[in-house]
Symmetry: C5
Subunit: 354 residues, 5 copies
């Protein structure tokens, strides 16, 4: 993952406004799908060039243009030309190393953020940058990859049961943001599980493997936080925005997303603290283990080294060693061999080493 | 406990406003109890459907509707319909993974917070989400479980001694908030006790068990803080609110709750620091113990290993070893066997190892 | 000390305004002393009931009512009735677990703070809550215990030398605050001494005892900070206050107290950092010691274990061991016995273990 | 590098406005190059003295004066005299130990910041201070060294393809800032690589070398942060500036730079946390290794020390030791010699030491 | 140094305004020197009593009264009487344990700060409190000791070359502040050197001595920060001040000092972080060393303890030990004695212990 976040220096020194795709290239052809809906109608089409969208521009229905894959720069260029988008925005759409932000322009809003998708069991995250251009009755979404990220929203539009279709482009924007933000809850669940599984092992058997997991997750959380904390600013500016593209009545929905972001952001902070704590626990547990190992060593050594010495004495070959001739010497020595460990064990017991 | 906080991702991708109960399901049937009181009268009834409440809506008396158990979604739906509550609020009531917040709507206020109840001796906490809807002369409280949480308030209303009944819905709101907030003081007491009991063991005998307790409490405190720190914002917004539902004269009571929240929040912060410190103390204590173990080992080894070597020398079987024939060799050796430990012990004494 | 800070949950669930003494009960009878002074006159009386104070209420002189001991709730109740004090204030006066705060009411100001008194040599602190009610020309002070805390102020009033008596109730308030705040300087001195004495021992001989002291002081500092940091807010609100009870000319005195609080608070912060650092030093010092112990063990073991092995070889009883018959074998072995330690010692010297 | 940041005390006590070059002296002669361009024309000249610039002062074209090398103080002095620059600004230009800042003066803007250039493979950074004076249609840039830092900008002006030449001095300022800020992305890439290479080694083989790298990079990051975090303030003040030198339309470009600074600053913060974490991982990994070493020692010692003792017993020379005469004694002893290690190994296996 | 910062509790309980010198007493007689200068004239006199200053009070020239040594309280008292200074200011001047602050009074400004002078090679700091009273055309400076602190400023006035003498009291104030602030740059240089010298030793040979240095410097930096961080507030209030004593044109100079304070403060923060990091490095380095020691011990023990056991076996005196009679037994044993270490060394090599 670090991979997809590195090499962000490629474009430095270039002209601003020079449209170049910066970031990991997903070798997928760009695809443009359009969803045009109003209370009564729903139209799903797949277009080849942006020019075809001119038809929908002045309609009253909401038109959602989904562009997947950013390799075909000409598409972005035409969007810029036809809908009069500022070159810096186009540049930002193509640069997939962007921090989440909200910008208000004359006639449109620009939102860029990261969709974080928990991929597998072992807390691993896939990042995808999503840019949203919100015009009056017209929404462009730009994604790096072709995937099913927006499927739940599309299905809700298709089903037509809820009041969805009777609401404007601002409600669609909200739904998309809500979807992307709420996917982070899955990350939090995954984090919680990882903590539980790591913690169990930690105290009983602190291995390098557990250390590795802790390290990996800590780093992942550090990256995630970099994409989640700017979301607060993003939504705060969006809520402060006085653009007429967002209806005052819709603000309550965006406030709801804001609450979710706060929740996620606080949860992330506390999980991060917990993970930092796990490292301390790891070290504590390891030194505890070592302490135990040391005790075993010390007890074995303290008991048998003196005994070996005593045995060594009577293994000496001096001509004049009267004890060697005594009849009870050997049994007495055995008594000593038994007495010394007993005394030492009592001593260790007292010291609470046993 | 972590359990009840996980799996918050269940609802992502659903329509906002789709009323689904999110969270641990407490298999209790929903129960609706109503308490209607004024200075002169008191009426306690148990209703089956929200429609029955229409009777009380336009009365001057204060009506408190307690809804326990959130499994019966139709109840929440009828509250929404009859009292004209925003769908997002209804959704929030049903989602029991919510961070505490205060929201002001046209005609009503919405408060959601967590009641933290210290359950057993060993610092363990039960979480229950409480949502409060405050209308003019009408209060709804929504709880996850059927329990005695509100009993003290109910009894004060029943007793009728204090001025309670002559005060409005805002005072009832205050009393409920005060009750929930003040229960955290018990948590603090419990924390203080846990610290005392852990600390005592820590220096004398740093076991894995103590480490486990520290770890557990640290994590619990991390969770608790996530519910207590937003309370500050909650009460700050409530105090700033200009809604006419809250009388200016009642603000002083909410300010008192605010002070308690500050107190608790600061206490939590300082206990958290103390607990973080305990881990350092643990590590220090363990390395101290290990140091002691090492000293014992080193002393035994340093004393007896050289002696064993000397004994070993005279256990050799060389033909030409003149010392073996000397008469005083053996006693002299014994003198050496005594002298070496004495010298080493003096040396260790000097090094303060004894 | 922790004791006096625990058990703050006693009162939760009670009616606000129910006057109950919360906190450690000091079994002292409540005592009321009155000091009434003006530029010309000074009157010291001891009254039995608050009713007697009615005499002084409308005089121009400054009347200082000192109430010591909070067990007699009827006294607080009469103060409330006669001087029209809000029930929540009376409740706060009786609850001795309060965080310092300043509140402005119609006709009076309420200040509550902790007097921290350094008691003995070994950094130990006694806490006493002091509540101050400031009315026009009338001051109530409520203390938990009977002690000499206010003696310096009383003596300055008695002496009558300074301009003290010609100044109003606000100046008296300032003097009391100044006295309580400045007593913290003694704590800081005591902390500095404790640090010096602990530090000296730490590097030379890191014992469990030093660890215990560090732990104790760290915790004490954590508690102290909880009472000192709210003092900033207290004085900041007091300085912002527009009450006519405090003369604009007196503000400069309160600003002086504010400066002292900042000084103390910053000093506390830096001492806390120093104490946290001491724990790191402790751990460092312990591992250093252990390193030394290990070196001694390793050197003894590395030198004598190989020698013992060599002696062991020639202690074997094989029939065919030609060396045993050689004349110079034994002296040569002695040469080896001397050479091996010399070589190893040179090696250890090179490794800087000596 | 620390070198170039030290010795900043040289000038203390001097008169402010006394023009003295403070900082590492790069023994390069100062060089003045001028680039004068408008939509139609482009002129590149190299001038000897500032007086020659008078020609360009009142033209409509944009004139960019690049001064490289700060040893020739007379150049700075003439700039000050001819273009009426405040002495303190001139002093700041010459002092290359300045923290980044933006200042607005009558008729010109002053920007000073550091260009950080990643030099070699092993995360090493070269610092160069760049001062920018922005007048109406006139820009001065002051650099410490002669290098190719500005080459990309110069080439873009030369190429004349983009709209660059038709834009004013504010756009040039933006381009220069953008260039300098974006070079930090290369630093971040380099950091990420260093982390990856260090981390790999860390768990498998925690050497002093890795520790040294971590230490070095941590320190470097600490220095870098000191130059990057003030950039936020710099750009924030620039964006708030109401100077007519910066066109309102250009603000969007500076906002883009601001976003980049935020991105870099956040990335730096998270990399710094990761590096701090690496040290913890290092310690954990080292104690893990030590634990392993201890286990090997303990197992060897625990198994063979008792065996040696038993062998020692039957090496004793007592006259009366019946076992020595038994026929099966020796084989039985061998059985014991095999049984003891087997039992101990099972025991260690159970303790998960193997 | 800690000494000069302790014992700040001496004065608690005294009347505010009671002029008592609080702090370490430098047994130097107070000295009053006066420097009166205007564009044309310069007069240096040494006066005995403050009364003599009345001559200069209403002149247009700038009069700088330097008071060195604070033991003679009568001097401070006369300044107070003659120039109408508030008693609390006089008290603050005499209390040399004051945190830096700026206060604006009717007719004069009061500035108090610490001059930190790096004294010797081994990062040691001398503290001196400097109080400045700025009146219209009149400046008082109060210093604890007689030293050459202000010499550079005095010499600049004497030289009369710069525009200094034509500027007012505010410029003189600036020059003094600038002098005191810029002396901290020397501290930073000294810190950087100390770090370099400690760091070098740290990795190669982590001694208790290095630990002691780190500890000492950390503590010193903690003290320094307590005097430097309030300087920000001091200068911020000064810049906000609307007193007519400070000319608007001079503000740019004070802003320059502010920039220096920010620079120093940030540098101090980052050095403090680096020093905290050094302790971690120390611990890491010590455990690394210990690991090495352990490896040596373990290798020696693991190799020779089994060998000794084997030798012990054939040192037993059983009657029936067939191997003892075999001709090749002894050479075969030697082969084993060589094989075992070789095998173990290969094993250790594989484990990267060598």
């Amino acid at each position: 993952m670090a991979n997809s976040l590195n090499n962000i220096s490629e474009k430095s020194g270039m002209s601003p406004g020079a449209l170049v795709h910066v970031g990991e290239i997903h070798h997928t052809q760009s695809r443009i799908s359009v969803l045009d809906y109003s209370k009564e109608s729903l139209q799903e089409i797949s277009v080849e060039s942006i020019n075809e969208l001119l038809l929908y521009r002045d309609r009253d229905s909401v038109t959602w243009v989904m562009i997947e894959g950013l390799t075909d720069i000409s598409i972005i260029e035409s969007v810029g030309k036809i809908f009069d988008i500022h070159p810096l925005v186009l540049e930002d759409i193509l640069n997939t190393h962007h921090r989440p932000k909200f910008e208000e322009y004359d006639g449109y809003l620009y939102i860029v953020l990261k969709a974080l998708v928990s991929t597998k069991a072992k807390f691993s995250v896939a990042y995808e940058q999503v840019s949203i251009l919100v015009l009056k009755n017209f929404i462009f979404t730009f994604k790096e990859k072709r995937d099913d990220l927006f499927l739940p929203v599309i299905q809700r539009i298709r089903s037509g049961k809820s009041r969805f279709r009777s609401l404007g482009a601002d409600y669609l924007t909200y739904t998309i943001l809500d979807l992307i933000v709420d996917q982070n809850f899955a990350l939090i669940d995954s984090l919680a599980e990882t903590i539980d599984s790591v913690e169990e092992k930690l105290l009983s058997n602190p291995t390098l493997d557990a250390l590795n997991t802790i390290k990996g997750v800590k780093r992942e959380v550090a990256y995630i936080r970099r994409f989640i904390s700017p979301l607060r600013d993003l939504l705060a500016s969006l809520l402060r925005s006085e653009s007429d593209i967002i209806d005052q009545k819709s603000l309550i929905y965006f406030k709801d997303v804001f609450d979710h972001v706060l929740h996620i952001s606080e949860a992330m902070d506390s999980y991060r603290d917990i993970f930092s704590g796990l490292l301390d626990i790891y070290v504590s547990s390891v030194s505890n283990k070592m302490n135990e190992v040391m005790k075993v060593l010390t007890m074995f050594a303290s008991i048998f080294i003196p005994l070996t010495f005593i045995a060594g004495i009577y293994g000496m070959n001096f001509d004049y060693m009267p004890e060697l001739r005594w009849k009870w010497a050997y049994p007495i020595l055995w008594a000593i061999f038994i007495a010394i460990p007993v005394i030492l064990l009592i001593y260790f017991k007292k010291k609470r080493w046993l």
